[in-house]
């Protein structure tokens, strides 16, 4: 299974129309077939980053399904839709992702993905994108699964890794890891934002210390799902 990750730089004056285009247009259009499903529609939370940025993640069954999708956007049934949507955004940047070998999300059962726009509470994700050192990429993938993700397996966790990805060959950057993490405890997010990292975590044995052998560059985004996002 492939995961299509897109960052849409939306025209602020047309943000509502843009959201409707996905809710009423793309999501049900994909639901008519078996090739793909929109999973997440999220807004980059205002006050924490770029304005009017939307991140969507769409699951695509396989390479042949992605080819059919790409052709429908180029010259098929979705050509008109994407042309209209381009009028609602400044641009979109996409990447095709594969699940990491330890990712909790490997396959998606279409039957578990709502496509009717049903509403629910909003939720907040921390999407972390990491760029490991050149010589540590493969080790980072393994270690983040063995050490970081394991460290979150506690009784009452702050966040939960729902998926971990790497770019599929030929799309976007080669050396990158993306974690889609649902925030379960907002009070701990507040603590994280307002306190320095505890000394213990910066000493040998702590992930923040040990991981410096593997990478020192990453970016976190706080993404808030819309009320109708299929997954949340």
């Amino acid at each position: 299974m492939l995961f299509l990750h897109e960052v849409h730089k939306v025209d602020g004056r047309k943000a509502d129309d843009f959201e409707q285009a996905f809710r009423k247009g793309l999501m049900p259009a994909l639901a008519k077939g078996d090739d793909a499903r929109l999973l997440w529609y999220t807004n980059h939370a205002m006050g924490s980053g770029a304005s009017y940025n939307v991140v969507t993640i769409t699951a695509v069954k396989d390479g042949a399904a992605w080819e059919r999708l790409a052709l429908s956007f180029q010259k098929g049934s979705l050509q008109g839709w994407v042309r209209d949507v381009d009028g609602l955004r400044h641009d979109a940047r996409g990447k095709l992702l594969l699940p990491l070998h330890w990712s909790p999300m490997q396959e998606v059962d279409w039957r578990a993905v709502p496509t009717d726009g049903r509403e629910h509470p909003l939720s907040l994700y921390m999407e972390d994108t990491m760029w490991p050192y050149r010589e540590q990429y493969l080790r980072y993938i393994d270690t983040s699964g063995a050490a970081y993700s394991k460290s979150l397996e506690v009784a009452d966790p702050f966040i939960k890794i729902e998926a971990g990805f790497q770019p599929a060959f030929g799309s976007h950057l080669r050396r990158e890891v993306v974690l889609m993490q649902k925030i379960l405890k907002l009070d701990q997010l507040r603590h994280l934002l307002t306190h320095e990292i505890p000394i213990a975590q910066r000493r040998p044995g702590g992930w923040m210390h040990e991981a410096l052998v593997l990478r020192d560059q990453w970016e976190s985004r706080l993404l808030r799902t819309s009320a109708w996002s299929p997954l949340y």
Partner: protein, 236 residues
Amino acid sequence: MTMLFLHEVHKLLGAKEEEFEQAYRGGWMPMLARGDDARLLWYANHAAGSGPSYNVVTITAINDGAAWERLALRVQKGDLREWIDGVDQLRYDVTGKILLPVYWSRLQEVDFKTVPTDGREHELSLFMEDTGWPYSSLDDYIRMWDEIYARPMSQAPPEMRILDIQACFQVAHGSYQRREAILWQKITSLDALMHLLTSDLPPEQRKPGSYMVDALQYRDQWQSKLLRTTAWSPLY
């Protein structure tokens, strides 16, 4: 089935330049040739003196989406995992995008039987790769390139042409930036290129009705790269 074109820009470690080239000549190209999924088409250096240092552009043809997925899985966890990790040690990074030929592109499919895979040598050639980012719709931009750029260029007398437009691509959905298109053009007259580089645009090309003025309705941002194929690049 539609042929896909994998476009990669490799930012090399300067001291590893020759090793990197050898990895493609002795590794990637023959490895792909053992199967039917893909072929390396072009291996080109961004000409020194015209842009960033130690930049290599490669274009690989891939049979279809299923073939690309097989290749991606081999790279992620199959027989190519270690090979590509070795190549990663020779470059700072690589940026990739998967392209589709636009409706009017001369290059649509590649017959793999016509693509050399043995590293045979030939003269070098120079390409001008133009990447444009329109403010018009992408479809209108691609049509404009056909109607007021490519067709007039193809109808000009050979001695008046600076280049031969071999292919035009757009980004396949989701693999990179949405609103972008690429012209892949072989320089056919170095004299004309030198004239272009050393002369201002003549006044007649700055008037309504000229390409340079009319195309401003569609875009004002593009980037040209001068790419020189290696002596062994399969296509050149």
